[in-house]
Symmetry: C2
Subunit: 345 residues, 2 copies
Amino acid sequence: MNALRPLCAALLLFAVTPVFAAEEAATVLVIHGGAGLQREGTSQADEAALRAAITQALRKGHAELAAGKPALDAVTAAITVLENDPLFNAGKGAVFTHDGRNELDASLMDGATRMAGAVAGVHHVKNPILLAREVMQHSPHVMMAGDGAETFAKEQGVELVDPSYFRTERRWQQLQRALKEDAAGQAHAEPEVAKHFGTVGALALDREGHLAAGTSTGGMTDKRYGRIGDSPVIGAGTYANGQCAVSGTGWGEFYLRVSAAHEICARMAYLKETPAQAGAAVINEEIPGMGGDGGAIVLSASGQVAMPFNTEGMARGWIGADGVPHVALYSDEPLALPGEATTAP
Amino acid sequence: MNALRPLCAALLLFAVTPVFAAEEAATVLVIHGGAGLQREGTSQADEAALRAAITQALRKGHAELAAGKPALDAVTAAITVLENDPLFNAGKGAVFTHDGRNELDASLMDGATRMAGAVAGVHHVKNPILLAREVMQHSPHVMMAGDGAETFAKEQGVELVDPSYFRTERRWQQLQRALKEDAAGQAHAEPEVAKHFGTVGALALDREGHLAAGTSTGGMTDKRYGRIGDSPVIGAGTYANGQCAVSGTGWGEFYLRVSAAHEICARMAYLKETPAQAGAAVINEEIPGMGGDGGAIVLSASGQVAMPFNTEGMARGWIGADGVPHVALYSDEPLALPGEATTAP
């Protein structure tokens, strides 16, 4: 027996020493700024501003990852940039409800623990994604709505603003057109997806190999009846676990009906599909097959990225460990994904 | 060519005549009345009343199926019975929020079309499941919350009641105990799952072979901050598609974090698991592994039923085409499922 001891000790040492202990995961951050982007009505100045905003959000999130912070920090940092930018339908610049209010939704999920937080229908919270994070980390709950969520925000010291903070003239005019069409009994001239344009989302893979996902939105122009879309619903607009992170953007009712974000992760887990395969199956086949549209971003724990969408444009980008941002707006724009060479479409 | 015509006609006739045209699916209705049931504190009279209520709901839903009505009608009929019964934490008899209100949630999904409707945080709607159905059938939305949902209810002529209608002395005393514990800074003596006791749900398979699922709840005793649990969330508390229908009952935060209802359906679709296998994987392994508890009912398009739960009791039952109700309350009670002989546990 004694003769075996050194051998056993050596074997044990080998067993408990991870072979790749020193190897850290290559970080990735992926962002979308909504799938309703259309060339018509989008000026070159708008396009430049969108690219600049996505780039800034990518750099902000990347800085967190590069500093060794968790994926959750990168996701909230990136989404906060987009919420503060009036270009996007999230935070400042959100669309207006039928009643002329800005009503905000957001959700966040940590893949490693599957802890999640979500808020729906808040009117005074400057950065809904930060409130979603408070719900996740400082309440026993996953989802809070309306006045109750705002009471919680106050108790947690989350920054509150006067509702006028969220107002932009562009969104106000968008509502006025929709209301006129309502009054005339006309169908809205704006396609459904354009009414959702600008929902923002981010996914991150940190050095530990952990994933996180988040989504923030003002919902749809002219929405009524306390409508809740997919963005604040864990499993529909946002999902993350150990292998997969997803944030959706599109006609939310369809995302709810197919549990879009969770469905993409389930296909990856059980059918062994890649992010590109699972994303295409749900976003480019299942949802359009039912009459819906939109897009999503998908990130795997091995750093594979997919950005499927079935609309003319989706503001989007990613940034790897090298800190070089990659940004695109339209479907016919080349955008190489991690590990790919850039090719013309 | 002419000589081939009769042959072609015969082949065509054969091709368009379904071989089993005359065969209708054997209908099934499955019900739960919550997974928090405990022997301690449940009198024999309570037990008898619970069994009678589940039996009545089964018969009511079965009558719809026997009359050739769609699964959706059977689900709403059964859930309406349970909402109207003060024994269950849904409709009349709902638990109280921290602020002393009854706040109701419900959702409904049609498997054949994957149309869905859900309402969260309503205070005046007598039968929230009927409002969920209106949302599904008469709005472009899937989910509505709070005052907006009540405005929609009024417009649709859904029955509204004074909030005092929902009040029961038993639930009021339950809140008073929880508030005293809050004030004393004590943990609640009542286990978490008991605070959710009585969420109701129903699944049906109709003659056409179509499935539907629905869930209704008052949420959790002493809930705050406009908390939304899993019951009104499509994919978490309720899901139905062409192959699978699920309604959950338990500690809702965990059901949200694993997209429980959709996860069970995904496992059945992609891993080819039976309802019993998929239900056990999510309800008896995944959720308890994360620290949660509860139960679910699962029904497949071939009429297979599972009723997994990891608590002492879950009021539950099913009724097949023969119209004989099968009801059980506790985990150690024998309850044969369709096609099985009754055996002692």
